[in-house]
């Protein structure tokens, strides 16, 4: 392992960190909570601001994934209920998130004339209940692979783009609308150009639908040119990749980034290390929200400078465990799990 670069004794890689926790209805991330601590943290923030052009500031954001509006089937006989409950959970968070990121498969595909548009409208209707106005989305294959993303663009805007928020550069990547699981050469060229203006110290959050690494290729849990994407991101010190598609939590530590998958809001898939078959986990009428969820993200410098970075090192699995075993009860009393 190489020597980490420091600024006045503070480790830059460790300074900006994303800490994520599963809520049982998504994922919450907190960015750079150490900034508020002052001392070396404040010095580091100032230095990063000088280098990156914007000083990082603490904030939180939520990841929601795979709502599959319109899906009907035995693994999810309650339709959009988990999505609607997730909206309630997010709205009752004690700290209002700055952003909500949707990592694909907002809708379930259909070729019935007019029906996919109706599902996109229904998605927008439910999402409009979020008290968080800044909502960003990337498509999943069920949204965009059959028509090259035409409907998605009409409803939600471009399928890949970038924006900045409080010192963090967010990149939305589309690895679905070409039909095959790939980003494609045009988008790779765009990514290189987009990142060219940033120094290696810039904290970057990539959000996309499919994993950018070979998680389980025989289940189509991969991106054909994911390695090329990661090569473009390689010079950057703080890269976090958030994705969906696999309908379950997963943490993968790559050589240059940490990759986090969020639960879905319909049904769960099994552990990829386990069975040979990719079959949805069966619906449990006693625990109707079991295995589904969202992710809340806290970003920014943390309480201790050495424990604060745009890297999801601290996924609080206790929340995940509770959501897995007590999903329904937990979602009925979201404030109790957030205290």
């Amino acid at each position: 392992m190489g020597t980490r670069r420091t600024t006045k004794g503070v480790d830059r890689r460790a300074f900006l960190r994303i800490a994520g926790m599963s809520l049982g209805a998504g994922a919450l991330y907190r960015v750079a909570p150490a900034l508020a601590a002052g001392g070396p943290g404040a010095e580091m923030a100032h230095e990063l601001g000088r280098r990156n052009g914007e000083t990082p500031a603490p904030f939180t954001f939520v990841q929601l994934s795979d709502t599959h509006v319109g899906f009907e089937g035995p693994p999810d006989p309650i339709g959009t209920r988990p999505f609607e409950r997730a909206v309630e959970v997010v709205n009752r968070l004690p700290q209002k998130p700055d952003l909500v990121l949707f990592t694909g498969d907002l809708t379930h595909d259909t070729e019935k004339p007019g029906e996919h548009e109706a599902r996109m409208r229904r998605f927008r209707q439910i999402a409009s209940g979020l008290a968080v106005r800044d909502q960003r989305a990337v498509p999943g294959e069920h949204d965009a692979a059959l028509d090259g993303g035409a409907l998605f663009r009409g409803a939600f805007g471009e399928t890949h783009y970038a924006f900045d928020h409080k010192g963090v550069h967010f990149v939305a990547l589309d690895n679905v609308s070409r039909g095959k699981p790939e980003v494609g050469p045009e988008q790779l060229a765009w990514l290189r150009k987009d990142l060219a203006r940033f120094p290696p110290t810039a904290p970057i959050v990539v959000f996309t639908h499919r994993p950018l690494f070979d998680l389980r290729p025989d289940w189509e849990w991969f991106t054909r040119d994911g390695d090329e994407v990661m090569r473009v991101l390689e010079p950057f010190e703080n890269v976090t990749v958030l994705y969906g598609h696999i309908h379950r939590e997963d943490v993968h530590v790559g050589p240059h980034a940490r990759h986090y998958a969020a639960r879905s809001l319909v049904f769960a898939f099994p552990d990829p290390a386990g069975p040979a078959e990719k079959k949805p986990l069966p619906f449990d009428p006693e625990k109707p929200f079991k295995n589904v969820g969202l992710r809340l993200v806290h970003a920014g410098p943390g309480q201790r400078p050495e424990a604060s970075a745009i890297r999801c090192e601290e996924v609080e699995l206790t929340m995940a465990e509770r959501s897995g075993t007590e999903g329904f009860a937990q979602l009925l009393r979201p404030t109790s799990i957030l205290s």
């Binding site: 070729e111 095959k180 070979d214």
Partner: protein, 116 residues
């Protein structure tokens, strides 16, 4: 006659007199047809180190055929067969998927290649 010309003439003579090498054997062609959301046949058995050509056809939609370990990464559309040359080097059972999204049942569209 220069030395180089002599050598060239001898080489030509040897080539003309040499017994004709047997024609290279054409690789076996294995037809695979795809339609939403299945492959036919669903299981193909190949011999290790035997060169074959997988001939891919579809009538309904663009499909993919993907198996990284075997080096299969192809896409084929209605109206045009696509040939995939393949010489499997390792015995085993390989799960091969359609990796071009083709609708709601796409996630389970797969077949098996058995290499003996």
């Amino acid at each position: 006659m220069t030395a180089s010309l002599r050598i060239g003439s001898i080489a030509l003579l040897v080539a003309l007199l040499a017994p004709a090498s047997p024609p290279a054997q054409e690789p076996r062609v294995v037809e695979i047809r795809a339609r939403r959301f299945e492959f036919t046949p669903n299981v193909v058995t190949l011999r290790k180190d035997e060169p074959v050509v997988l001939r891919l056809r579809t009538d309904d939609f663009t499909h993919g055929l993907y198996m990284k370990e075997l080096g299969i990464d192809s896409e084929f559309a209605p109206g045009k067969a696509v040939d995939v040359p393949l010489t499997p080097r390792k015995a085993g059972r390989y799960s091969v998927i359609c990796d071009h999204f083709c609708g709601s049942g796409h996630g389970n569209m797969k077949m098996t290649i058995v290499v003996e």
